[in-house]
């Protein structure tokens, strides 16, 4: 038996292609994940939970048949996003701390692999693993599609943005994992960062309300007499009103100045990126929207500010429709990419060998 390769190999310059290295790490990670039975159990529980929620939505919304599909579809998106935020940190934040604990990280570092290749491979693997949770909901999305009222141009955008958001959470997780020494710590920090995006944006928006408090002069709306009858037969026109002359001061919030605080919220990014379904021609019907549509609507209302929210401003009837606001999601996505990129870059620094500074209590191998 040989204990060395042929001399031909020895003379060849050692080389590991950048993509080949990433592919090997990716394969290594994915193989370990798919051999883990817990992973399949999690997928199964996941499917049952989402199916139950979507089924209940179908029961309650679908009485008259119309609108149920859109609501169900958006529910699936919202749920995958919500639970993805919970699952993706757990899937990604152990990827490097786990190797540290097992003593396999040093083995990888002692090959021709660079820290960058290691991080790319780990990130891709955890992203693909979390996309698995989106893939198992495909039957439920298909079910929603059978209702025929899903606004089709928005569907691929919602799905793509959802995948991007999962990728960002995974990048944060892998980056934190490269920085941390213990898996538990890495998972917790990742959860906190995800919470910062998901809840922190909402809290800062809410608290900032006080800073943009303004006083405006408003007056009461006066509706035509006929509208006051209980059995008004005609079409209701919400712009058919006049304003009283007597104005009074009302406290309101210039939300258009603080809406950007919501930008980095994953739900806002996904909802804001999707094109909106056009208003139905029959004005008595309004477009049925699920949770994502509602978020998108809310953000635009907040972007418009009091100028477009108050029907009688300074005693003047105000029916101006807000201009289509600038999309908020590029800002949000930019903030998220910067955050994730910064953490991953710091993690890459930490993975460089030969290692200079080490945190107290660290063993390399």
């Amino acid at each position: 038996m040989s204990i060395s390769t042929s001399p031909r190999v020895r003379s060849a310059a050692p080389a590991l292609g950048y993509l080949a290295g990433i592919r090997t790490v990716f394969g290594l990670e994915i193989r370990q994940r798919i051999r883990n039975r817990g992973w399949y159990i999690m997928l199964g529980i996941w499917f049952v939970v989402v199916a139950a929620v979507v089924g209940l939505a179908a029961l309650s919304v679908g009485e008259d048949g119309f609108g149920a599909g859109q609501v169900m579809f958006e529910l699936v998106i919202a749920f995958v996003l919500f639970f993805g935020m919970l699952i993706a940190p757990a899937l990604s934040a152990n990827s490097i701390t786990g190797d540290r604990a097992n003593g396999t990280l040093a083995i990888l570092q002692n090959t021709l692999l660079t820290p960058g290749q290691l991080l790319w491979g780990k990130w891709l693997a955890s992203w693909v693993a979390s996309l698995g949770f989106l893939v198992v909901t495909i039957p439920l999305i298909g079910w929603a599609m059978t209702y025929g009222d899903v606004y089709l141009p928005a569907a691929p955008v919602l799905l793509a943005m959802l995948a991007v958001e999962l990728g960002i959470v995974c990048a944060i997780g892998v980056g934190v994992s490269a920085l941390a020494n213990r898996t538990l710590f890495a998972v917790m920090v990742t959860y906190l960062l995800v919470a910062l995006l998901g809840l922190g944006t909402l809290i800062s928006y809410g608290l900032s309300m006080q800073l943009v408090k303004t006083d405006v002069n408003v007056s009461n709306q006066v509706w035509p007499e006929t509208y006051m009858n209980g059995d008004f037969p005609g079409d209701w026109d919400e712009n058919n009103y006049t304003c009283e002359d007597r104005t009074y001061v009302q406290e309101t919030f210039a939300t258009e100045r603080i809406t950007w605080l919501l930008a980095a919220n994953p739900f806002v990014v996904v909802a804001d990126a999707a094109p909106r379904s056009p208003a139905p021609e029959d004005s008595s019907m309004f477009a049925e929207a699920g949770p994502m549509g509602a978020i998108s609507e809310g953000v635009r209302y907040s972007q418009a500010g009091p100028e477009f929210q108050i029907p009688c401003l300074n005693g003047v009837k105000n029916t101006a429709l807000p201009p289509t606001p600038a999309p908020l999601w590029p800002l949000g996505l930019g903030i998220q990419v910067l955050l994730a990129g910064g953490i991953v870059a710091a993690g890459r620094n930490r993975l460089r060998t030969p290692a200079g500074k080490l945190a107290a209590g660290t063993r390399i191998a």
Binding site: M1, S2, I3, S4, T5, S6, P7, V9, R10, P14, A15, L16, G17, A20, G21, T24, G27, L28, R31, Q32, R35, N36, D99, N102, G103, T104, L105, A106, I107, L108, Q109, N110, T111, L112, L113, T114, T353, P354, A355, G356, L358, A360, R363, I364, A365
Partner: protein, 326 residues
């Protein structure tokens, strides 16, 4: 591992390009307030097995991590086959095989997959990686367990897999951190044979171990560390020349005592309780003197049943160093 004697593709006795082995001078490294390595000079020659010996916490593993290009020394310089690992770690890793003291494996992968994955990370092509993995699994006697997940391997088996992993890139410099721990006696003999072969084929081999008797048999040179410093570097030939303790056992302690006294040796005697036999412990200046003394005792008709060094060569040095320490 016995089957690993021949090296195809290389005529018997033909050696690899030797290179310059490992040279490290003035190494220092601390972790916070702990000065793990204070001042280490280390040289390991190609084609030789160099033993790294020292008590727990003397800096052996830290030194090996620095040599393996994973840890940056605070001071001092390292050359592995002439390459500086802090300046060009990738070039060093291409020629280096490192077997860590902690066993780490991807537990759900099989032994074969682990070896082919590591091979891929050295840029070895798929087909070649498969051949290489099969070869190495035979070399370390894991052929039967090649396709079982690594988590079922026993400690000794995992140790052998770890050695195979260190050999994947056919390194010219091999660093083995406690390779024999957890191995059964048979596997230890095999490991010794393999390490000898690897060194004979021109590789630079560094072994750290606590089992000094074992190192006696494979090491060509030894470097002793204590509290992060090199306290002695010697070849085994030098160790053989130094004065060391011998134990002589005889069926007749009184005759032995008389014979040793005549030859002017001071010795500590211990008699057996059940008969007149017993043993003597004494210091001899070297192997030549030992040979002469044995001849003399035999000539005087002393019934000698055992005549041997009290401890192994390296152990002797190790213990003498401990005596010197404050």
């Amino acid at each position: 591992m016995e089957s690993a004697v021949t090296v195809p593709g290389r005529a018997p006795g033909q050696r690899q390009d030797l290179g310059s082995g490992i040279t490290a001078t003035g190494l220092a490294r601390s972790f916070g307030a702990v000065r793990a390595v204070e001042n280490i000079d280390f040289h390991a020659a190609p084609g030789k097995v160099t033993a790294l010996i020292g008590p727990n916490g003397s800096g052996k593993t830290t030194l090996l991590l620095m040599l393996a290009s994973l840890l940056r020394p605070d001071a001092g310089s390292i050359r592995i086959q002439g390459i500086d690992p802090t300046a060009d770690p990738r070039a060093v890793r291409a020629v280096l095989g490192w077997m860590p003291d902690t066993l780490g494996f991807w537990e759900s992968l099989t032994s074969r997959e682990i070896l082919t994955t590591v091979a891929a990370l050295y840029g070895i092509g798929k087909a070649q990686a498969r051949v290489r993995a099969a070869e190495l699994l035979e070399v370390v006697n894991l052929g039967e367990l090649a396709d079982t997940p690594a988590r079922v391997l026993s400690r000794g088996q995992a140790q052998r897999l770890s050695l195979a992993r260190a050999l994947v890139n056919d390194p010219s410099v091999l660093l083995l951190d406690e390779p024999a721990s957890g191995l059964d006696p048979g596997a230890r003999v095999q490991l010794r044979t393999l390490v000898r072969q690897l060194a004979d084929s021109g590789k630079t081999v560094v072994i750290s171990s606590h089992v000094l008797v074992e190192l006696d048999e494979i090491a060509d040179a030894a470097v002793f560390l204590s509290r992060g410093k090199t306290v002695r570097s010697q070849s085994l030939a030098e160790a053989g020349a130094q004065s060391r303790g011998y134990t002589i056992a005889s069926l007749d302690l009184e005759m032995l005592r008389v014979a040793l006294a005549e030859a002017n040796f001071e010795a500590a005697y211990r008699g057996n309780l059940e008969n007149g036999g017993g043993s003597a412990k004494l210091k001899l200046t070297g192997e030549v003197q030992a040979g002469e003394l044995l001849g003399r005792l035999a000539g005087a008709g002393v019934p000698v049943t055992a005549f041997a060094p009290t401890s192994g060569l390296l152990e002797e040095t190790y213990l003498s160093l401990e005596d010197e320490m404050p």
